[in-house]
């Protein structure tokens, strides 16, 4: 692994964990724990993004409990989709960023609800579980309740995450973009 990646990966992973923790503390109904993954993908490609997502989730599990590690699969999927978006200049504008974010959120949300249901019988993050409980009260079956709450949250979360990364990379000066060839493609320069 070259020295640039050794410098980039810990920063990207820390970004996943710290912004995720920050958003949690701010009481926002979002995760925002994949900004590092998406940024690493845009700068260095989906393989690097997958590493960021996977290692980040393992470390998150180390700190907060292994029960969270299976969600690393979602981080990997996010990296793949962000990679596709980047290769299609998906971060060229606010609109495109949000569109790709929503698509990723759809896939991530579906996957997340499957993992939630299979591994945790519907109980994971406090926020979603509260929504699930509410939906159950209204008479929806557990699988439907879990899916609906997961999806809504993931759609919003990934749209915002893609938006933030897109805006950031578009704002970078040429000198910085020049160091990361894929980033130029992602913002259509």
């Amino acid at each position: 692994m070259n020295a640039r990646l050794l410098a980039l990966l810990p920063a990207a992973i820390a970004i996943n964990l710290v912004i995720g923790g920050l958003v949690n503390a701010m009481g926002l109904p979002l995760y925002l724990d994949s900004i590092g993954t998406i940024l690493a993908t845009v700068l260095a490609g989906p393989a690097v993004g997958m590493l960021v997502g996977a290692i980040g989730q393992v470390l998150f599990g180390l700190i907060n409990g292994y029960q969270w590690i299976p969600f690393g699969l979602i981080q990997i999927v996010i990296a793949v989709l962000a990679g596709v978006a980047a290769s299609q200049a998906g971060f060229r504008s606010t609109g495109r960023s949000i569109a790709w974010g929503l698509l990723t959120g759809l896939v991530a949300g579906a996957l997340s609800s499957i993992i939630s249901y299979v591994l945790f019988k519907g109980v994971t993050a406090t926020g979603t579980t509260a929504v699930v409980t509410l939906l159950r009260q209204l008479g929806l079956s557990l699988p439907v309740a879990v899916t609906a709450s997961s999806l809504a949250l993931d759609l919003a979360d990934k749209a915002v995450a893609f938006l933030v990364v897109g805006a950031l990379v578009r704002s970078l000066p040429n000198r910085m973009i020049g160091r990361f060839a894929r980033a130029a493609l992602a913002v259509g320069r």
Binding site: A12, A14, M26, P29, N64, T126, T129, R136
Partner: protein
């Protein structure tokens, strides 16, 4: 994670707590019912206290408490099937059993991993990996990230402070809070990217890429006891797994 990992746990070879917590995770997933899961959770907590890192078990209760509450609510109170009345509440018998099982599984896993985190010593881990001749890059990434977290957190808090003094509102309507995302994340991300360049230069100059045989500076002792524990725990976990899959 601390420079003083505790009176007993700190004397283990770094890989021993790692293997132990993985085994607890496997056993937790394999536990078939409420009694075995509860037994596992209790054993884990007792072992953790005996190891001198009891605070990890207590810390684990923080994320566990809301999970347990919702498990109880979702499966116990709202569960279907045979009802049983406890303390005036009508609870599903099956649901309660499922809730207890899952709660104890999560409890064991959370306690084990928080114990690992509390007893983790970055330098000993890097030395243990170097001693075995395994990949330095992987060990570097894990340790560098863990050590970077407090630095990034401190920077994020400093950015929040600075932005608040410029008028950023963090309380109030959800829209307000969503608007706060940009001014908080942007400086953090830009700062991180600016650092990546120089840090990359420094790591390159200090031969951190393409490391073939890193010298362990203070290799941790791998006693017979350590190896025995790892082998027994590993064999036990595999046996239980096979029994569950095929038994």
């Amino acid at each position: 994670m601390s420079p003083d990992p505790g009176p007993h746990v700190g004397r283990f070879h770094p890989f021993t707590p790692l293997v132990l917590t993985l085994c607890v995770a496997v056993l937790a997933v394999a536990a078939p019912g409420p009694k075995t899961a509860a037994a596992l959770y209790t054993t884990t907590v007792v072992a953790v206290f005996l190891g001198g890192v009891g605070r990890a078990a207590l810390r684990a209760l923080i994320p566990l408490a809301p999970l347990w509450f919702f498990l109880f609510l979702l499966h116990g109170v709202l569960g279907d099937g045979d009802q049983v009345v406890i303390l005036g509440l009508s609870l599903s018998r099956e649901g309660l059993a499922a809730a207890v099982t899952q709660a104890c599984r999560l409890g064991a896993i959370a306690t084990a991993s928080l114990t690992l985190y509390a007893s983790f010593s970055p330098a000993r881990f890097v030395d243990a990996v170097a001693d075995r001749g395994w990949s330095f890059s992987t060990a570097y990434l894990v340790v560098a990230t863990l050590l970077a977290l407090p630095r990034f957190r401190a920077r994020a808090l400093a950015i929040i402070d600075a932005q608040r003094s410029r008028g950023l509102r963090l309380r109030g309507s959800p829209l307000n809070r969503v608007r706060a995302i940009g001014p908080v994340t942007f400086p953090l991300l830009l700062g991180a990217l600016a650092e990546v360049d120089e840090r990359g230069y420094a790591l390159e100059t200090r031969c951190a890429s393409g490391v073939v045989h890193r010298t362990p500076l203070d290799p941790p002792l791998d006693r017979v006891g350590d190896r025995a524990i790892r082998w027994l725990a590993g064999a036990g976990a595999v046996a239980v797994l096979l029994w569950r899959v095929f038994g």
